[in-house]
Subunit: 351 residues, 2 copies
DNA sequence: CTGAAAGCGCTAACAA
DNA sequence: TTGTTAGCGCTTTCAG
């Protein structure tokens, strides 16, 4: 049996004033219009009875639930927990709760979950899902619900977004490889239906162009998922292309780890024979040998940034937030990159 | 400007019936008491207008928000995301949303967050925080709020809990080491204010007793956190004890990884010279060399189990759930354990 | 400064 | 089978 909760009415009865007075006395803003002595009496009674405001009831009345929805593809993906902590670090102290949902990058699920969140009356949504286009979130925004996207932008909309400077990251990495003397750099690209996969491939082409590195289309191979297995498969594909390369720039860390593993299986040493680079700087990378050279993106910071933008959207009547927030990235040079070998070891007969 | 939502009243106006009729027609249970034709008309109008029920309002009326609170120490800890997915996998299809909060294993935060969740009217709480005692969650349970704890039990209470069979895991691991010929097994224990730390240490003593392995108190050293750094520090402490050992059974994977790293730094080979074992089988372990021998616990399964128990607690008037659910664990033998060297390499002069 | 009253959107007795 | 009514707990006009 759920114990009855203390309500404003209980306090009103206890103190002999009207509920509306109690409501005012307990509201830090309205409190100033109440006699100090009365406020004190009410406060005391509230404390004594262990009063806790019912946010559901307040929400019904005010149309503000003090909760936000957070949509991510999959919480077990290592990059998302820090993002969530970042979001929480700004929202929680202000009294917001987050309802977190996993989309599994499934479009149907995504539209359904948006409805789920709206049904619960969230005051806003942070949308870190990564499908490249989705009308559902745009519709929610059009209906006036504050929305911020993370890691991606919704095309043809004025939904604010927070992204990491992928372009700069890829470019810095390619430059790093160039400085080590790598002339023939392969790219293992991510899934092209995910924004990061597509952005990083485009960035790779741009960077190559800027640095006057020739791009050999046969040295670009696209993974179907961001995981080690695909990294291994793509590396095998690169090898069997018969084209020479001395470095592999991968679209994320897991692809890179898979690639290094595949090299090892074939007796090819990273970084002595082939340099491999990642992207994201996911946790635990320090524990894996060779320590991966990668690009660190701000995960916690991205969460914070998105939350701050959402706050402004939710609270200001005239939002006036920047449409675009680009967070700087940082090159992290570790052990998986080394000077290019004098002679590329490929092509060579494969066992 | 938030676009006005369609309410029951709108549908009632549209179809010329009373709101309560609309409410019934849209409720799968009550629907059977309404003329089929009317139901159809109402359903059509609801669809046409894009009606979405307001769960806040319903919750206020029914005292059920269809949301549950989930308390964990820290979402960035690798073991929790799978647990959350497990919870979600049973609750989400039934229409429940989860409000996830991070306690950071801080007692004050923990009591505050329980209030936060109750203020939001959650129908129940799954509590995976790991402080060994806390009256706050017990109080919530006493007030009639359905509560299930995960990975730990609240002493002197009838709160149902789900735990992994730590005892069996530790025992199997110790037996595995014994079978490899290890006679002198050290233990790096986890923080003793966390239930897992304490349980596993107790299990280690029990197992040693059962298997007639002598326990040398100097070969038990306690970490202050479950991380690699502490694993390293504890290993150093073991070495400087001057006592011989050929294997280190660690209270979790991260401690084990830190220990192996510390061995490597000293030029000691794992597993040839010293075997090291972990606990949890956290993700990505396959990528780290030597691949860690560990005990796999059911994370997803634990989440599911806890959610199912909570469901029964929330829905049955006569709960009748088992107080204790113990999930089986599985020994995962990989590469960090090997036959004991003929002669223990310690003690020996330390550089 | 405080009280009265209305109402957020929905559900659930009770009536018809 | 449907309508009427009341009310969940709170905020917020409007009076006094």
């Amino acid at each position: 049996m759920l114990k009855k909760r203390i309500t404003l009415k209980d306090i009103a009865r206890e103190t002999g004033v009207h509920v509306s007075t109690v409501s005012r006395a307990l509201d830090p803003v309205e409190r100033k219009n109440i006699t100090e002595e009365v406020v004190k009496r009410i406060q005391a009674a509230a404390d004594a009875l262990g009063y806790r405001p019912n946010r559901i009831a307040a929400g019904l009345r005010t149309n503000r639930t003090m909760s936000v929805g957070v949509m991510i593809p999959d919480i077990t993906n290592l990059i998302f927990p820090p993002i969530l902590r970042g979001i929480e670090s700004v929202l929680e102290p202000l009294g917001y709760a987050s309802i977190i949902v996993n989309t599994d990058s499934d479009r149907d699920r995504e539209v359904r979950l948006i409805d789920v969140l709206r049904d619960r009356g969230v005051d806003g949504i942070i949308h870190a899902a990564v499908l490249r286009s989705d009308p559902s979130i745009a519709k929610a925004a059009q209906d006036g619900l504050p929305v911020v996207t993370l890691n991606r932008k919704v095309e043809f909309s004025d939904i604010p977004y927070v992204i990491n400077d992928e372009d700069a990251g890829i470019c810095q990495m390619l430059r790093h490889l160039r400085e080590l003397g790598h002339e023939r750099v392969a790219h293992i690209a991510g899934p092209q239906d995910l924004s990061t996969g597509q952005l990083r491939l485009a960035a790779f082409r741009n960077a190559a162009d800027d640095l006057s590195v020739a791009v050999d289309e046969e040295l670009i191979v696209t993974a179907t998922r961001f995981d080690e297995q695909e990294g291994g498969r793509c590396l095998a594909a690169l090898l069997s292309s018969g084209k020479a390369f001395t470095a592999v720039l991968c679209a994320n860390d897991r692809l890179a780890l898979g690639a290094i593993e595949a090299l090892r299986e074939r007796g090819i040493d990273c970084p002595r024979q082939v340099s491999v680079t990642g992207f994201n700087d996911m946790p635990l990378l320090e524990l894996i040998r060779p320590k991966l050279t990668t690009v660190r993106i701000q995960q916690h910071g991205a969460g914070r940034a998105a939350a701050n933008i959402l706050l402004r959207l939710m609270n200001a009547e005239t939002p006036s937030v920047d449409l675009e927030t680009v967070l700087p990235v940082e090159l992290v040079v570790r052990e998986s990159t080394a000077p290019a070998p004098r002679l590329p070891l490929f092509p060579r007969p494969l066992s």
